[in-house]
């Protein structure tokens, strides 16, 4: 069964490019224009991975991640953060406190982003399969 990815960015062109790339790679892609729209999308269908922009109207990327981590149902969803911000974003703190797997700087390569997502979801699969085999 294809895995589901939620893309969240207020720039429609970035959203469209990433959506196009991931759909071509066989993922089911949901999109959201800001953090609140992303939470609504998650309520409808729980994604396997979330890629979110950092600076967005209404609810920004960091706010979204905080809400996700506060909810047990979404606390373990892997999150990648896209950002055009520079030095003021503390990558270590994001990883340590909010379990953000990676911070990808804009401009980014959709190809490289896809590779990274593939790797993360494959690792997740391996973990899930390992847990399953141990349970058996």
């Amino acid at each position: 069964m294809p895995q589901r990815i939620l893309l969240c960015d207020d720039d429609i062109y970035i959203l469209r490019a990433a959506e196009f790339k991931f759909q071509h790679a066989g993922y089911i892609v949901d999109t959201a224009g800001d953090g609140l729209e992303a939470l609504e999308a998650i309520e409808k269908a729980l994604p396997d991975l979330i890629i979110t922009d950092c600076q967005m109207p209404r609810l920004d990327g960091l706010g979204l991640v905080q809400r996700l981590r506060d909810n047990p149902a979404t606390a373990d969803i892997p999150v990648l953060m896209l950002t055009a911000k520079g030095f003021e974003l503390k990558h270590d703190e994001l990883a340590r406190t909010w379990n953000v797997l990676a911070v990808v700087a804009k401009p980014f390569s959709p190809r490289e982003l896809l590779k990274r997502v593939n790797a993360i979801l494959r690792m997740e699969d391996i973990e899930v399969n390992r847990e399953k085999s141990l349970n058996l």
């Binding site: 062109y13 790339k21 071509h24 600076q55 920004d60 055009a84 804009k106 401009p107 190809r111």
Partner: protein
């Protein structure tokens, strides 16, 4: 002990007496027996005796007159004010007795001693006067320095080598809320409630080097608001030894300069760089992503390829607009902008601006209402610049209007002027924001997350309208209901 002087005149007088006495005897003895008449002998005797008597009388009289003069001199000396004699440098008030008495030499020495003492006292008095003048000058200078220090807005604190404050100005008293005249202790660490500043001040007093030390220090006032100061501390080494490292320290002075504005500028600059880089990276990200999709052959059909190319083109335009905004603002501010004004149709330019911002309005589902005057509104303008200003005003309205809202562009002739308004149904501005929204890099804090921006669009529009075209750009706004930016241009 003083010797009694014997003058030549006295010797002569004495000789005359002796000669007078011995003359008759000598003559008597010298004449051969039987030589000379008794009358001659008597003559010799009488002459010699008279001479001796006369000389004796003369000498006695002279001696007596000398004694009188000396007595008179001593009486005058006793009656005179010693200060007068000491100050009588030329000896004119009481000249030394000229008539020789037996004590005249002693008196001359006394007189000389008086004059010497007089000179010494005069020197001492001159030194005392000079010292008094210096003392007065020093007191006046100290008062002057205190006055200057008090008038300075920068807090200044001076500590001695015993870690006690010895001088502070009123700005320092205000900052640290104390009154130097009424403090229980002058210990610097008890009065100054900023450990970093105490360490700097006392550390400088003990420091061997005479170099000034600078430190940026955050000091909280009594209400808890913190302010940034640049503290400059220098060691005090006594008079004329400020640069002598071997001279013993006698304390330190610290001057605090408020660098709040400087820090705010630094922060604004950092935010500006961050905003500009964010603004540039966003279209760049689009260009890079779509170019890669095309290069990887992900766009399989012609329509998709065209769509991607259009996006790349649009993002490149966006980038170009940003760079133009930056450059134009820099040029206008530097006064090196080339303005070419020509009579133009305002509506034509506003129509073009509307078509440029149309896609971004559509993307946010914002209705862009064209309410341009049917009249031909001719204005003397620089076409490119005014187009830029109109685009900036429209883009700003679209950015801060929530989806479903509307942005209206209206133009009309009014009181001999041409006017156009950009009216939105957006988030609106507070009174304070209305005053500051044309400041360079200023962004309304609560709206920052609503849309990215550099805080350059509105200042640039204002520069273009007011500085380049001599017009007026104003804003009226109600928080939560929307804003209207109005441009007035002379015909």
């Amino acid at each position: 002990m003083a010797k009694i002087g014997v003058r030549t005149s006295d010797l002569l007088a004495l000789s005359a007496v002796v000669l007078g006495l011995i003359w008759p005897i000598g003559c008597e003895a010298a004449l051969p027996v039987g030589f000379g008449s008794p009358a001659l002998r008597l003559g010799f005797f009488v002459t010699g005796s008279l001479t001796a008597i006369l000389f004796t009388l003369w000498w006695v009289r002279k001696f007596h007159r000398g004694r009188i003069a000396e007595r008179h001199y001593l009486t005058s000396l006793c009656e005179m004010d010693p200060h007068e004699i000491w100050h009588d440098e030329g000896g004119t008030l009481l000249p030394p007795p000229s008539i020789g008495g037996p004590w005249s030499q002693v008196l001359e020495q006394v007189h000389q001693a008086f004059r010497d003492h007089g000179r010494q006292i005069q020197n001492l008095e001159q030194a005392r006067s000079a010292l008094e003048i210096r003392c007065r000058r020093a007191t006046s200078e100290a008062a002057q320095i205190k006055g200057i220090l008090s008038s300075l807005p920068e807090p200044i604190l001076v500590a001695d080598s015993y870690d006690e404050l010895v001088m502070v100005n009123s700005s320092a008293e205000q900052l640290f809320q104390f009154d130097m005249q009424n403090v229980e202790t002058r210990a610097a660490k008890s009065i100054i409630h900023c450990q970093k500043l105490v360490d700097l001040l006392l550390g400088t007093a003990r420091h061997k080097s005479t170099e000034r030390r600078n430190e940026d220090i955050e000091i909280a006032d009594m209400e808890g608001h913190s302010h940034w100061y640049r503290a400059t501390a220098a060691r005090l080494s006594g008079e004329n030894k400020a640069t002598d490292e071997r001279a013993e320290s006698c304390g330190a002075v610290v001057v605090l300069r408020n660098i709040g504005e400087h820090k705010a500028v630094q922060k604004r600059n950092a935010e500006f760089v961050s905003s500009v880089s964010h603004e540039m990276k966003t279209p760049l990200a689009g260009i890079k992503a779509y170019v890669e999709l095309l290069a990887d052959g992900d766009a399989e059909d012609e329509n998709t390829r065209e769509e991607f190319l259009a996006v790349i083109n649009g993002q490149a335009d966006r980038l170009q607009r940003l760079v133009e905004n930056l450059l134009n603002l820099a040029r206008i501010e530097a006064g090196v902008v080339n303005v070419s004004k020509e009579p133009r149709s305002l509506n034509e330019i506003l129509d073009e601006a509307l078509s440029i911002v149309q896609p971004s309005a559509e993307a946010k589902s914002i209705a862009l209402i064209n309410d341009l005057s049917p009249m031909y509104l001719s204005v003397l303008i620089d076409r490119d610049m005014l187009l830029q200003a109109a685009i900036n005003l429209l883009s700003n309205a679209i950015k801060y209007t929530p989806p479903g809202g509307s942005v209206t562009l209206r133009s009309r002739m009014e009181e001999g002027q041409v006017r156009f308004d950009v009216q939105d149904t957006g988030v609106g501005l507070s009174g304070d924001d209305c005053n500051r929204v044309f400041e360079k890099f200023y962004r309304v804090e609560r709206n920052k997350e609503m849309a990215p921006g550099t805080g350059l669009g509105l200042p640039l529009a204002k520069h273009i309208v007011e500085d380049v075209h001599g017009g007026r750009l104003t804003v009226e706004s109600t928080l939560g209901q929307g804003s209207t930016f109005s441009v007035e241009l002379k015909i």
